[in-house]
Amino acid sequence: MKPSAETPGPLPAPEADEPAIGLYGVVKLYGRHRALDGIDLEVRRGEKIVICGPSGSGKSTLIRCINALERRDGGRIRVNGIDLTAEEGTVQDIRQEVGMVFQHFNLFPHLTALENCMLAPRLNRGLGKEQAERLAMRHLERVHLADHAGKYPARLSGGQQQRVAIARALCMEPRILLFDEPTSALDPEMVNEVLGVIEELAATGVTMVCVTHEMGFARRVADRCVFMDRGAIVEQGPAQDFFANPRSERLRGFLAQILR
């Protein structure tokens, strides 16, 4: 059932109305501290979700549970119709359908931008060199970095590195994209170039879950916003209402601080 590293081919598509991501009662413990305290969340296909909240609220932990970078301690997670278990094969299958962009880029320093993008398709799908190159160049063009394909990460600015990281995730042609504070480590003048690329992606119909402090971006792009505090979802709703009429006290306080 699980595609081996050499046979290309997508998994059977999930049913039309099945949520892209489903978290049901998800719990994560660090010792005695409840980083995630019973999270219930469904993300429809093509939906754009922004998760925000104070530090320590568990937002990073939440999205890292979706692609199993964190192992949950309770509850169920379902991604693209597959139940996320501890089994290595299942985890790998899900990860190949879910792309992730990290706060600190995490590019492979010993590979060029192009090679960074080519690595996963070649290893996971057995693509030939030319095929992989074409694929990688296509996505590097999408993030406007085709001219820098031969450069090593050390020679790229933070904003450029993050865009390469986005292209790298896109090369696996994932149905879902996760962003873990993608602009928090960037100098202010580079934040917009990265957000611009993410906004362009949002328009293509891919499912997105983005943890970020960029509220302007959230207002423009998100279908739904989720506010987390101390491991639980406090409030969520359509972006409009979220910012205009925050219902909970905590969200009001948080927005007041962020949008000062």
């Binding site: 690595l119 070649r122 995730a169």
Partner: protein, 258 residues
């Protein structure tokens, strides 16, 4: 240091013998370096395993073969295993039946223990974020190790590896006690014949020094080659990039990546 009378004539005459000794030294350096490194991988994996029954024996191995002085290890193998008739005449005669075999065994085990720690340290030095990124891309653990972890571990661990290799070369000087005629043994022999301690020992020292510095230069060049991605100008996109990327067998992969 004009106080040291070096007999240049004697030095010149001893050169062939000294070089023969150097050849032996190189041999008892290179073989254990290769075998020890090969052995270090499985032991390192065991050492880094999560299950105690795997990591504990590996830990004990490392503590013993790193913590015990090399001379004692040599004695254990030569006077211990090397004297057990069963081993000498059995299938392991190649290893224990000759002084040379005993030396290789002892040196290999010692180097393997050190390399296990060097390897472990290098692998741990790979930033976890980069490993996570490769996991998030759905790359299998085996592929992550070959294509991401090892190339980076080598870069991080090169200095430590160099230090270990240099120390190792210097450590091989003891094998004369078990009748192997390495460079040190030759120097001693010449001293015993001529009663001149300075010339042979200083010549041998010079040859060791040359060998070690040759190794150092080699490592320096290797390090520079590995770090080329940090100084490299815009490399032409793909066409000229040396083919680093085939899905071929491990040895060729490793050579290409390195």
């Amino acid at each position: 240091m004009s106080a040291l009378p070096v007999d240049l004539d004697l030095a010149w005459r001893s050169l062939p013998e000294l070089l023969a000794g150097l050849r032996v030294t190189v041999l008892i350096t290179v073989l254990p370096l290769m075998f020890g490194l090969a052995l270090a991988f499985p032991i390192c994996f065991a050492r880094m395993a999560e299950r105690r029954w795997q990591s504990l024996p590996a830990e004990i191995f490392v503590v013993f073969f790193r913590g015990a002085p090399l001379l004692i290890l040599l004695y254990v193998v030569y006077y211990g295993f090397g004297q057990i008739a069963l081993l000498r005449e059995g299938p392991l005669w190649l290893l224990f039946g000759s002084p040379f075999g005993c030396v290789i065994v002892a040196l290999t085990l010692n180097h393997a223990a050190y390399m296990t720690e060097v390897l472990r340290g290098s692998l741990l030095a790979v930033p976890s974020g980069i490993v996570e990124a490769s996991e998030a891309l759905g790359i299998s653990r085996r592929h992550i190790f070959i294509w991401v972890k090892m190339p980076l571990a080598i870069r991080y661990g090169l200095k430590a590896y160099q230090n270990e290799v240099v120390s190792f070369v210097k450590g091989t000087a003891i094998v004369s006690v078990v009748t192997i005629t390495d460079l040190t043994a030759v120097a001693n022999g010449i001293f015993e014949q001529t009663y001149d301690p300075f010339t042979p020992i200083l010549c041998a020292a010079a040859l060791y020094w040359a060998f070690i510095n040759l190794l150092r230069i080699g490592f320096e060049l290797w390090g520079r080659w590995l770090a080329r991605h940090q100084r490299e100008e815009d490399s032409p996109r793909t066409a000229e990039a040396p083919g680093r990327f085939g899905l071929r067998r491990l040895s060729r992969l490793a050579k290409a990546m390195l």
